[in-house]
Symmetry: D2
């Protein structure tokens, strides 16, 4: 299923979860938005995912969501497909945003389940209603992130959604633990009970090393070093397992530090600012700013990483 020239079912590599850059006073920083998109491209990103949790989507007014989506889709251009998070408390808002961003050139949308869903039938039913709302011509990605959304989707539930809804093209996998789930889903494909969709992994990248080995197609996360994510996925695809793990392990202390619920976004924006990608690390409220101690800890981990990197290059 193609939309705006892209077939996401075969997507692989790294779709970066884009931050939303703000000025210190909370206004959206359009200039940093462009430089950020350029940075992601330079890192080798295969695509972008915007308006996710880590993009502070719920903190944007409706017209801001539309504006930043249009800007990023335009800047990214046809070579870097953009998926837009359209999760909303109701289907009217979801439809409105989905239709608008698809008209603007998005490759698809991402939908997270509302945290009231519990049973298998409720979850599958919700995605059916969502497709009714946005239209079955809009490719969508399931976001499976139980620790944040409190909705647990078994592999069977994901299979039902994929089999019953042809416009489902991708799974953003961020269950924890989640390695067996990837194996089970790829097993469904192997036994013919499920068609292929792209599986990209989030969760801050914390298990990316093994997720690739289990059958994931890559990463969909916003860790401040997308270049590393790109390299790890590339090395794994090339069969260079030890090299992939060596690179990944060097980043793991920082990945782990960034992957703290609630606190992580401050780390990520601080690092993006430190790397010159965005002008300010301001978040909109509610937010948890970095303490001086935390900032020093991030600096320490950054320095250790730089030294390792220098040593690796020297070797």
């Amino acid at each position: 299923m193609k939309a705006n020239g892209t077939d996401l079912t075969t997507a692989s590599g790294v779709y970066v979860i884009a931050a939303t850059p703000f000025h210190d006073d909370g206004r959206i920083d359009e200039k940093s938005t462009d430089s950020m998109v350029d940075f992601y491209r330079a890192c080798g990103a295969d695509g972008l995912t915007i308006l996710g949790v880590m993009g502070e989507a719920p903190k944007l007014a409706a017209e801001e969501s539309v504006a930043i989506s249009k800007q990023i889709i335009k800047r990214a251009g046809p070579s870097m497909p953009v998926i837009v998070g359209v999760s909303a408390p109701g289907f009217a808002a979801m439809r409105s945003l989905a239709r608008t961003v698809m008209d603007a050139g998005a490759a698809g949308v991402m939908i997270a389940p509302p945290n009231t869903l519990r049973t298998d039938d409720q979850i599958v039913g919700y995605y059916k209603q969502a497709v009714d709302a946005i239209g079955d011509d809009v490719p969508f990605c399931i976001q499976d992130f139980p620790i944040t959304f409190s909705v647990v989707m078994s592999p069977k539930v994901i299979r039902s959604i994929i089999q019953e809804l042809p416009s489902c093209v991708m799974l953003k996998h961020e269950d924890w633990p989640g390695l067996e789930k990837i194996s089970t889903l790829r097993g469904f494909e192997a036994d013919g009970s499920m068609r292929h969709v792209s599986i990209l992994c989030g969760n801050g990248g914390l298990f990316l090393d093994f997720e690739c080995e289990r059958g994931a197609d890559g990463a969909m996360t916003g860790y401040a070093f997308p270049d590393m994510l790109v390299d790890v996925v590339r090395l794994q695809k090339a069969g260079k397992r030890d090299a992939a793990h060596d690179l990944f392990d060097a980043h793991l202390p920082l990945i782990r530090y960034e992957q703290q619920p609630g606190a992580g976004l401050a780390v990520r924006k601080y690092l993006l600012k430190k790397r010159g990608v965005i002008a300010s690390d301001a978040q909109r409220k509610p937010s948890a700013p970095l303490s001086a101690k935390a900032r020093a800890e991030v600096d320490y981990l950054f320095d250790r990483l730089s030294k390792l990197d220098a040593r690796a290059k020297a070797a």
Copy 2:
């Protein structure tokens, strides 16, 4: 604190939680909206609360929320103050709606806590940030509804919000069990540790008989017989306890039936349609329509109520 001519801190009686009338195809039914407002006025409502959970607020697009708010505020006029629910996933959307409806003549706004809040400090902190966002010139009502929002506010927490935020003018009380909470809050007033705010009770009216006796100022709920709510509050204020309970008890089988989580709105809209208030009982998805059996059960309870009523009038 007055806004648009109304001081909600002294509000009492019944503020009806207004439904949002739709056509069968899901479009907002403006004509029924007007007739519904007229019906609430004829029932003796002291005010209205719109865009609550039972008003299907999350299912409306941003522009629809604005349009229906303006229509209802205008139709209600200065004699029937309107409170508008502005709960939103983020403060930008909350501010935008709050400023718009206040400009349109609303008496205040209602804010429910997001279901991620757990500790006392988190809850108080959230309301402070909300006031920062909407402005401290906007009177607001706390919605305390743990069974739906999963946020438990102790009486101390509610006191902190009231004491620290002068623009807090009202509590929509719908904790369950909740009678002791009302007594405790009125005790805080009596011992001078908390200023007075209006307490209106929701929860479908299930404990309205005793809530009035504990110190509540009235009801804020959308039970399909607001006329009864008005009478019960009036009888209680007049000290006619037995008469208040007699009237309330006659309605209790139906109140209980309407107060089923998720299923209740279908009952309420069916009854409003049956009473000629709205043209269609359609809900927007996701929704749980009444089964044939459930409809027959509501009819049965309605008939029993009518007979009781006829007997009471004959006596």
Copy 3:
């Protein structure tokens, strides 16, 4: 499936959820335990269910649970079958209690799901493991009580448990809303996809009037007037619908008052003491005692009920 002479799959009428009587100092009151069992028999109870949530089961030491089970099973005798709650944090404790009470003459056991279960497969899997633990010769009753256990079982999940586990003989139904669930389950029986089990309803009896009409076999709750529950079920079976509702509605104000989460047990024990059934209304900690105001409210409702009752008898 019979155990100790009873086939619970065909059970109907009222299985009273027995309280656990304590002395004021917290020791178990054996004398009141016997008088309570005699009272339930005199009320016309068809069976008893002990060591449930409202029996303060988690507050008993292991040896106390065994002792009171043996006493009640003996006092109840073969004409009043006893089901024993054996829910436990682990299977070793569950097995130990289950085997002991079955040896002592229980008719079956009741098992609630632990609140960590989310997906359909997890729930069915848990009941399979529980049967592995206690033995497939022990008849068991599923307790479906989402508001307390946070586990949502769809009708399909309940059917899977019943179909896959022959020792499942009964459902304690206390979902809310729950009327459609009863209809759906009885529909599964009608279409041949599920075998018959007994369905008895809890939830404090709040919907007993309609639950009987939907296909439930009766009640399993501990409302302080089990005689009324017995009469309502009997009237419904005899097709005397209006009389059943008249009787039920007279009790509804008190049923509703008793059915407050957490606070309800104090009401129930206070009423049982007031009716002379138990010597003390003491609960073990943690507990929420009745305030003076609440006690007066219960007295008021009790008096109104007595007057209605007197009037009904005079008529």
Copy 4:
């Protein structure tokens, strides 16, 4: 406050969360229990904590809990104090186990909050009732583990417990994110508003590197390489920051792998078996066994760690 010769308020270093070794058929393996205790001692453990979540405590029958506690306390001897988890659904069972293990020589007990607690007052109130139940002569450790228990304790709540209950001697810190919490609590000590208690960190050790720097006294976790935990804490105390991080980072890929909710215990027991500490990695049900792929992944990480270790020793 001393009990059985130990003052836990000044405890530091590593208290290992002990596994419970089973035979393949599920019986407790006493021989492996002894060898495991000896292994922990050889690793340099300062104490042990038994009957925790990762000790499969809820899966033991009451008499098994007592038996294994007595065995481990005896084997550990006076030089390695033992803390026993006594969390229970009710206070009767909690008191019974607490008194028994203290009589057997335990240094204290650990109490986790039940997952129904929400408000600050509820949490503090629960610990007061727990102390009433077990006696104020029993030193206790608070377990603060929101991701598992769903109870969020703010620093103020922890301070209230510590200040109001003199028998509180220790905090098992495993909030996530949790670094700021340690700083805040040590800040309370510095400003004189809270007395000193020992803070040992769990959470699988995932942030031990920085927790020590924030003011924690060490670790309380059961990672399969307690020798590493001991060394990291020792290096940090000696001010050898870089060396501590180097050692920690080498283990982080495996720490992260072991710290998967639910799946982690299988990894830990597999590693303990691989290291020759216990004879079988069997868990009691419900359990999630390692898949062949997962086992191979653990082996891979283990091998990488061994190579790093060999290289470090060679250097």
